[in-house]
Symmetry: C2
Subunit: 347 residues, 2 copies
């Protein structure tokens, strides 16, 4: 094993000056004797001192770490959003600490505390399906850590936080309109949990499209997949026992649509001739399903990119206010990205 790495302390000791003087010399501070500064830099080079990012972070009060909290690690939508986040942040020298809440509000709150403790420069978060209050987001703000919420937001939060979403109302509307245009008569909707904002908006879009086309929306055609994962079978069962079975089903998201397709196959139901199925997400996997899945594409990567951009805007604005001795006034921003229909074989 090679010998110990030279540190800032070694330089201080050899020159008989304080560690803080060495540190200021190395990070290029102005308020330092130029002769001392030259001596420090010369010795640093001579003994092979490498500037520590950790130490640099401490000195400049920046960690160059951004925390990302997503609900699930194995859902492709969030993986793709992270690719967009990276695309924006990497060239700026930021690294990501990626955490997941496992769709649990308490875990999510713990994640925030962990990131506060890590002194990240900012947090990008997509909320768990059970998150109903913003105390944890407030805590981060109180610690002067800028936040941006993407995709899964708290609609009633009064915290002035930038948010990026897709037009979920339009997603529900366009999905429904597509099925009506294709001639389906009885369009059902498997929603997410009732408290979930994006699920509510998609459902509103569905209801509006039905009304616009003169279809009465029947409550029995709207069934929730309450936990997004294990309850799809129950939701589908409720639709399949109806006297007037649906001839088309919109799933709240693509993973639910995949499950519906699988369950319909097991029941021997032909897709789309007996029942059409469509999703909302735009997961790449949808193309490989049989039949391939018609879906509403959400621009996941773009969402990540835009969210990261908004976060750095805020980081910059906060720093500027501080440098100018002004109070930083956080603004509430809501960016809505457009969605698009991808028509495949399942409708």
């Amino acid at each position: 094993m090679k010998k110990r790495k030279p540190t800032i302390k070694d330089i201080a000791r050899k020159l008989d000056i304080s560690v803080s003087t060495v540190s200021r010399a190395i990070r290029g501070a102005e308020d330092i004797n130029p002769v001392t500064k030259r001596k420090v830099l010369e010795l640093a080079e001579k003994i092979g001192y490498k500037k520590s990012v950790l130490a640099a972070g401490l000195a400049s009060k920046k960690s160059f770490l951004i925390g990302v909290i997503i609900p699930e690690l194995t859902v492709p939508f969030f993986g793709t959003a992270i690719l967009g986040i990276e695309e924006f942040l990497k060239p700026l020298g930021y690294d990501l600490i990626i955490l997941h809440s496992d769709e649990n509000a308490q875990n999510e709150s713990d994640c925030i505390d962990l990131l506060i403790d890590r002194q990240v420069d900012g947090i990008l978060i997509s909320l768990s399906m059970n998150t109903t209050n913003d105390d944890h987001l407030r805590r981060a703000m109180e610690e002067e850590i800028p936040l941006v919420v993407f995709d899964r937001i708290l609609p009633n939060s009064e915290l002035p936080i930038p948010r990026v979403i897709v037009d979920d109302f339009d997603a529900g509307f366009q999905a429904t309109q597509h099925l009506i245009n294709k001639g389906y008569k009885r369009v059902a909707f498997i929603t997410g949990p009732v408290d979930m904002y994006i699920s509510q908006k998609r459902q509103e879009g569905y209801v509006r499209a039905m009304e616009r086309n003169g279809r009465p929306t029947s409550a029995e055609y709207i069934v929730p997949a309450t936990d997004l994962r294990r309850s799809v079978g129950t939701a589908l069962d409720k639709l399949m026992v109806l006297k007037d079975k649906p001839d088309a089903i919109i799933a709240f998201n693509d993973p639910i649509a995949f499950k519906v397709i699988s369950l319909l196959h097991k029941r021997g139901v032909k897709i789309p001739t007996q029942i059409a199925v469509m999703g909302i997400s735009g997961d790449a996997m949808g193309e490989l399903f049989y039949p391939s899945l018609t879906t509403i594409n959400q621009p996941a990567k773009e969402m990540g990119f835009v969210a990261a951009n908004l976060l750095i805007d805020r980081v910059t604005a906060m720093k500027k206010a501080k440098d100018e001795g002004k109070l930083f006034i956080p603004m509430s921003i809501l960016k809505t990205l457009p969605i698009e229909l991808i028509e495949r074989e399942s409708t």
Copy 2:
């Protein structure tokens, strides 16, 4: 906005002692005047000083960050492995910096440099399919950062690094034996890139199983999906123009098997009656495919857990050697986890 957080400097200024003395008092160093120490701790509590993790990391030379490098962010196998890594490391107070190489050796090398720069306490890495040398792993070791390689290893590397893999030979062997037991006569194998170690091992298992059962392995039944993503169609085309078409196909991994199933549907081929398909991975999605995918399950989560465990063992061993003034001798460890057959409808 609340007033500035008190820092270690404020304490030093008020007590007219050096920052380094304050720091040592706060982190409980022994070589300090007990009266000074008490003064520091009392003042720290009075002004509400909170110990910074960043500073604590700097003082103890530990960042409590572990770097994780995976080839792809959107492949479920790696997401699941990370769940296992987290399960082991979280209770110990470590956080993860998750990076991906996008299956590119140069990116992977850059990821290592980034993690060296971040002074992570250790690195868990699954190599990109193009990685052919271990210079970057050597660099990390030279910086005294322990590494563990999981799933995708460099078989010829002489670096003494712990590695965790599954028994890929057995995966190929058992997949082939399963198909032969089910009565399939012409079993083909779509491999990964030829240089990829785990692909070679799976292929060896396939060849051995064929031989054991008295089947001559024909070279034309072994075709590579050279880039894992876009070349599956070409590989399948090669099999479908053979005079003796295969009646069963083993795909190098589940994502390739999903693509094969999709392409066979498009060709109107019935699965498994005309051609059986099986994968190797155990992705949860396989259960939802039509027909559902027979596969060889790799214990992804367990692999992550075991890899993280080996890493912390090494971190501890290195620290112990250092504390005792001994030279740390790194050992080359290879842990092989067992695989298991999951039989579903596609075979």
